[in-house]
Amino acid sequence: MPTVTVNGKEVSIGDSERLNCIQAAKRADIEIPHYCWHPALTVVASCRMCLVEVGDKKPDGTVAMVPRVVPGCQTPVKDGTVIVTNSAKVKQAQAATLEYLLLNHPLDCPTCDQAGECFLQDYTYKFGHMQSRLMEPKELKPDKDYIGDQITLFTDRCVMCTRCVRFTREISGTGELQVINRGDREEIDIFPGLPVNNKLAGNVVDICPVGALCSKDFLYKQRVWWLKSADSVCPDCSAGCSIKVDQNNETVFRLKPRSNPQAQGDFMCDDGRFGWKYIHSEERLKRPEMSQGDRRVAVDWDTALTATRNALKDAATKNSKAVAAVLSPWMTVEEAYLLAKHLKSLSPDVRLALGPVRIEGQDDHYPKDVRGNATDKPKFTIRAEKCPNRRGVEAVLQHFQGSIINIGDILSDAAEGRIDTLYFVGGDPRGGLEDSHAAALAKVKMLIVQDILPSPVSARAHIVLAGGSFAEREGTFVNQAGLAQAIKRSIRSPEEARPDGRILWDLSVRKGLFNAGVFRNEIAHEIPALAGLSGELHGSGALLK
């Protein structure tokens, strides 16, 4: 196995791995600072921040060093490579690079949104000079407020790493960004009239190592050191991008992609990035409600859950064939299991259907070519199926009744009056069923709806249970490729709304509290198709067989 020596520390790398010095040093827990290099983009070695000394260990034990510093991002390692990152020569090179980058960089950290997660700040602190020797006034270029609907460019903060330019050329393929001019007049810019409005545009803000590209949506909303992050999964399509939910004081401020090679890689699309606003909507269902006569009144959770439990029990004992439930593909595996298990324990005849799966257009592959057509090797795909967990819910339904009933069958049965009691779980932020389809539920005598936003179905409900959005729940989503990933709670539900797991846990009268991590093992034990969920689900998730 090839061995690389980093600052005297030996690390082994895989036989077929092709690593550069930055990656090899990371294995040894040694940080080589870098700006222009990004694991998902091509190497340009233009920022000169990763300069290191590199040598070769000969079979007789002597080390032959290259007599100059070389960029670590561009230098592949092989067996016997020696990397030195802490010699005086390297330190001098790092400090000189930083001094040069800071020459014209405005010191507006207090008003810069990146402050706190800025690599220029961090590296200057760790590797740079504490004083500027520049005597002349700084050369400050005017800001470009509009380079995209969601992006603003503070030109003077740019360190010309060109990560954003390479992103639009290599990942989105749309190529809107470019470097104009040369030398110290270099600037990032767009072609006139062609702003960065592709569906992956928000990623250029994340990959910008400094505060040059900022998100208009998040601009000046919050200082980043106040944000608390929770690992989660984007619920807006079946790609299941790993994300971080950043919140402070029970308010979500932004979603950021979390690097996960098993899922989507390093990026996420703008539909998901900005699609979470409904979780703070005023419209949200905030407390359980029950209909009394013609009106709907707010009740407490005990009343609502007892009424739901009794209604389901009575209906199942009277005529269990007239009881059905619709499980939404927005539910987590745990929630689907709790509901399915509870209803099947009342009577095996209760029918469980998969809720409406929203499909919008076609799978959208990136990079695109000049004509906007997808190229052969997609690096990022936005899925047409706009729900996060169809596969997980299907696995649960398959286990409990051997087949998956289509929602159309339930609706047509309901229209003909063959369904008396229906437990309908929503969760689609766009409302789910259309009004014309929901009208089929008019003959249902007892309609129980668990949802987050008012919908045509919840308008007809006899009992409404106010559930939680993805940021308020714990559980597991299984994406289109069968990758199970954990979502973690980051905020509390508004007012009296409760996360769905807790509602269903209380409904099925289980002991203790709902804990997704523990409960996941029970499911893995019982459902062979979901056996991969056993044990701790780490950040990158587990691929189900």
Partner: protein, 205 residues
């Protein structure tokens, strides 16, 4: 910079001598002070409110928000004060200022300071990178309800207007000592003669 091992000085507690261990000299010293106060009686009570107290110049009273040369709020809504505040009494909502103020990126849309929560420690003043928030010598702060004690941006600016001409409340600027690049002391004198660039964005750095 993090604290370096070489910068840390370790000191030992001095050892007590025989007499110090008996505590007798300390007891005698204490008695001496008590007797002195019994013999020389002079009053230290101030007749407040008829007689106003003579406060030290670094007294920390009610806050104010300073104005810049153009009369605009000097605060850039960086929220350093809110971050430094141990009592969490400052809440700021920032907004983009570049549309009306071409030389500034960011300003406070609202700046609310809860004087009841404040512990008057002066951390906000120390954290402020642009000399915007300061504590004045106003010590007799009263209000009839909580709302009156919650100061917003206009109220804090009006305190600046009230106190700016008071010699006890000078603008305690530390401009020029903000950061590495603005530190001019170690540079040759000719460096200071370099003229700042023309145009409104010159102040940004």
């Amino acid at each position: 910079m993090p604290i370096q091992e070489k910068d840390v000085v370790w000191i030992e507690e001095p050892e007590l001598s025989f007499w110090e261990q008996t505590f007798l000299p300390a007891v005698a010293g204490g008695l001496k002070v008590a007797i002195k106060h019994t013999i020389e009686q002079h009053s230290v009570t101030e007749q407040y409110p008829e007689q106003k107290p003579d406060l030290p110049l670094n007294y920390r009273g009610v806050h104010r928000l300073n104005r810049d040369e153009q009369g605009r709020v000097r605060c850039v809504a960086c929220m350093m004060c809110a971050t430094a505040c141990p009592a969490h009494c400052i809440s700021i909502v920032a907004e983009d200022a570049s549309a009306d103020w071409p030389d500034r990126d960011k300003r406070p849309q609202s700046f609310v300071l809860d004087e009841l929560r404040c512990i008057f420690c002066g951390m906000c003043e120390e954290a402020c990178p642009c000399d915007a928030i300061e504590l004045t010598s106003i010590y007799n702060l009263t209000g009839q309800n909580r709302e009156q004690m919650t100061f917003d941006k206009d109220k804090l600016l009006s305190i600046y207007d009230q106190t700016k001409d008071n010699p006890r409340d000078p603008i305690r600027t530390h401009r020029g000592r903000l950061g590495c690049a603005s530190e001019l002391e170690r540079q040759p004198i000719s460096a200071t003669s370099a003229k700042p660039p023309e145009g409104p964005r010159a102040k940004k750095s």
